[in-house]
Subunit: 355 residues, 3 copies
């Protein structure tokens, strides 16, 4: 179901304050995780489950760098090891909570859900955060009751912009002719997409003359489990060349999107959009945020209905179309990683049994 | 569970407009159905499921006589056949949606959920709609979280009027002596019921002298799956004869009720009531509608609690009483049809396998 | 899951009036029970399920000492035997509803869910009700979505007061040193607990000088399934001796708590607290009620989260701590009774089979 050896986004950094109540509960890839900050600000991620009687540690209390379970008072350090059991002096070795590797990067909190020794921060996807001085990035999030594979398929095929987002990002059927230039990476796919000589997108129609035309460039880095980083540029039509361009830039922007599966039936979708300082103007990045908020409710409606339909008839025979290539490649990569993890786990069992 | 070769009511005709958003989703006998009107007004009923990736077509857009899936833009004609796949020129033969036979009659939309070649409009039950010039029929509907077999049992035994509807339709225990004269038809049962010399029903007590007595005549046509058409007449007591009567008519009315199972645990109940023009008077049919709306909430409460109880103890041993005859006959007929359909399906499998 | 041969609390006596609508539905140990009072005030408890078609009798109507099912009018006496079937003269012997032994005691209604011949009122736990002239007892209740075994564990270990109830009953960590003196009874455990020289509990801090110290005495009678009766006394520190004491009493109070499992996933928690007339003063027992209402919401939050965690990972390996002794003893007693009942039922089956 879920790739374990991967970094999953657990939220925007501003969600986890140093306040008294800053103990957050998150559902990530089928596990309950509790997050808090140490005194130095570093984020700790533990399983949200006391080893004594499974009380929720997220109802607990931060004490220095430790987290105290507020059911019977057991206290755990940031490594998950119990360092106090009220009323007794000995602490059993097994009195520890699973600790997850965690990294803050680009204003996102990333948690590694698999084998801690494999948790390489270099595997965290590139992104541009709201804290980046060169960009005016606005952030948001939405909960969607769908399986994350449907989100992958959605994001790997931008032709849906013409239909799902007709009222927001749409306005042209040129998307249907899109054939992305895709490059496979070990844990993701890069896509390069040009749309030439198209009208302005619906949400910005009031900003330009009606007959003005644009070239759009989508530079997408997609990585497992479901992280989508889009460098999106808009040029005056006919002025942009492929590769580094000296065309007439109307908008240079980044939209960074991390879709974290909570469980098989829902995802938490953290996303952003914003213009470069050079192409920003007062109110512009707010308009982008308004547009993406509206558009993602369109996706939510579509993907929740699709998920209900699939849950009802999981064996329904479907047909494929030309635009399935992108989704197919990414889902193939995901399934390959899932199989490799399953095989590695199978090999690991006899070793564990001999310990 | 559900008889397939039957007409199911999908709603009142006025619910499906020619407006831009007039694409309705309905749950009928365990299937999701999308409804829309062609330019000539004729209703189209398709499975609410795109053959590409199971997106909901009810989120789609009407384009002329076609319906476009607004996920990837595939467009389907009223026969369910795909007539456009944006971005590609060939259309696979299997790119089609199941189309259901549909008929409008007496202001109800009827959908045939089984084998299309058997969809004979003559099998649609007789009813009197709000559009009938001779009657002032008012319409309504209610969702009930119960199994439709419980609705069948409810409607086939009018003695429950004395108890469930004590505060609305009730007012006399004469109902308990009712012995309907029943006539079996191939797909239903007719019931003929007389109540003689009874006081006025509760909801109309303020209209008549307290000691006035009436004769009531119920002429019921019940048909599968669960359609109940009642010709209800009230006479001054002692003036009516059975058969065509020249008695003193106080009320001549029709109540037409179509109970459509959504799935095993809920039904959508479309119903009406209204007087003949000859016996109507200003406000009278509104009173009938008020009364039936109130009464059907009484049924809803009763049948939802009963359904919860049965779901909890499906094997509970029950006892039978004298009034079970009507429900028993109708459920026997339903089960007979279910068995015949199951047997026919079993026979059909080897044939399909040889194709 | 549930001990059957036990008295379960079905509510406070004032909840069941003699009013027209005083027919209550309760969920007790996995069974639906309907309660009403006879003309003489005695409470009747029947299964909430008509033997005809499983309609809910709690939607029925009290008629004298009988309860009429308002679906088809069958009427049942307080022993559950049907005494009227409208429209027919014979009443089948099997037309009866299961009747449960019921006793009112200390303003609580108690229902016996097992074999009626074993229903000994002497097995009802001791308690002090709001009607007791010597005490000013205030009552309340709360619904908690948890398994009742977690409530047992919660109540058998008062050290949780220091943590769960830090903001209400808490204020000292002395609780962690508590070692109750426990006495096993056939159907319960008595606990005797002293806390010496502790500060005032949080909710009463405004009533005493900040440096004042107290001795607390908890005298607990716990009995199956999950009834907790606490005689709680507060003395000026250093003035109380164990056993009958002539110390300086600040508060002499009773809190009686009956936790009734509705089903595997929820309980209805009936509870009270109040001072003796001798130690009461205007507003004091109201303060106690305010405090216990607030505290039980803290428990609700904790136990609902714990129940969700356990439901998610029922096989999670937990560790034990020193304070598990009390919970362990009581759960052992419960499991012993469950096993004995299961064994007795197994022995009973061949006998039934030969009848």
């Amino acid at each position: 179901m879920f790739v374990k050896n991967a970094w999953y986004c657990a939220g925007w950094d501003h969600e986890l304050s140093q306040g008294k109540t800053a103990v957050l509960s998150r559902r990530i890839a089928g596990e309950s995780v509790v997050l808090y900050r140490k005194l130095d600000g570093a984020v700790v991620a533990l399983e949200d489950r006391c080893p004594h009687r499974q009380a929720a540690l997220s109802l607990g209390r931060k004490e220095g760098d430790s987290l105290r379970c507020m059911y019977h008072g057991m206290k755990f350090g940031p490594d998950g090891q119990c360092n106090e059991i009220p009323g007794q002096t000995t602490i059993p070795e097994r009195a520890c909570v699973r600790a997850f590797p965690v990294v803050e990067k680009d204003n996102w909190i990333w948690v590694w859900m698999g084998d801690a020794v494999k948790a390489d921060p270099a595997l965290i996807c590139f992104s541009v955060g709201p804290g980046d001085a060169g960009w005016n990035i606005k952030t948001s999030q939405v909960h969607v009751k769908t399986n994350y594979r449907l989100e992958i398929a959605n994001l790997m095929d931008l032709t849906h912009i013409a239909w799902v987002h007709d009222a927001t990002f749409g306005g042209t059927r040129e998307y249907e002719l899109v054939r992305p230039r895709m490059t496979m990476r070990p844990r993701g796919i890069d896509s390069d997409i040009w749309l030439r000589n198209v009208p302005v997108t619906r949400f910005a129609q009031h900003l330009f003359p009606p007959d003005m035309r644009f070239d759009l460039h989508f530079d997408v880095q997609f990585s497992v489990p479901c992280n989508f980083v889009l460098h999106f540029k808009v040029y005056v039509a006919g002025t942009a060349t492929e590769g580094p361009s000296d065309g007439q830039l109307v908008l240079d922007s980044y939209s960074c999107q991390a879709v974290t599966p909570c469980d098989a039936d829902s995802v938490q979708y953290y996303y952003s959009w914003g213009a470069s300082r050079a192409t920003d103007s007062p109110g512009l990045s707010d308009l982008l945020k308004e547009a993406i908020d509206a558009a993602f409710l369109e996706d939510k409606l579509t993907l929740e209905a699709q998920h209900r339909n699939i849950s009802e008839k999981p064996d329904f025979k479907t047909i494929d179309i030309v635009h399935d290539a992108g989704p197919g490649k990414m889902l193939w990569l995901l399934d390959k990683m899932l199989k490799e993890e399953a095989a590695a786990e199978k090999r690991a069992i006899p070793i564990a049994a001999t310990v």
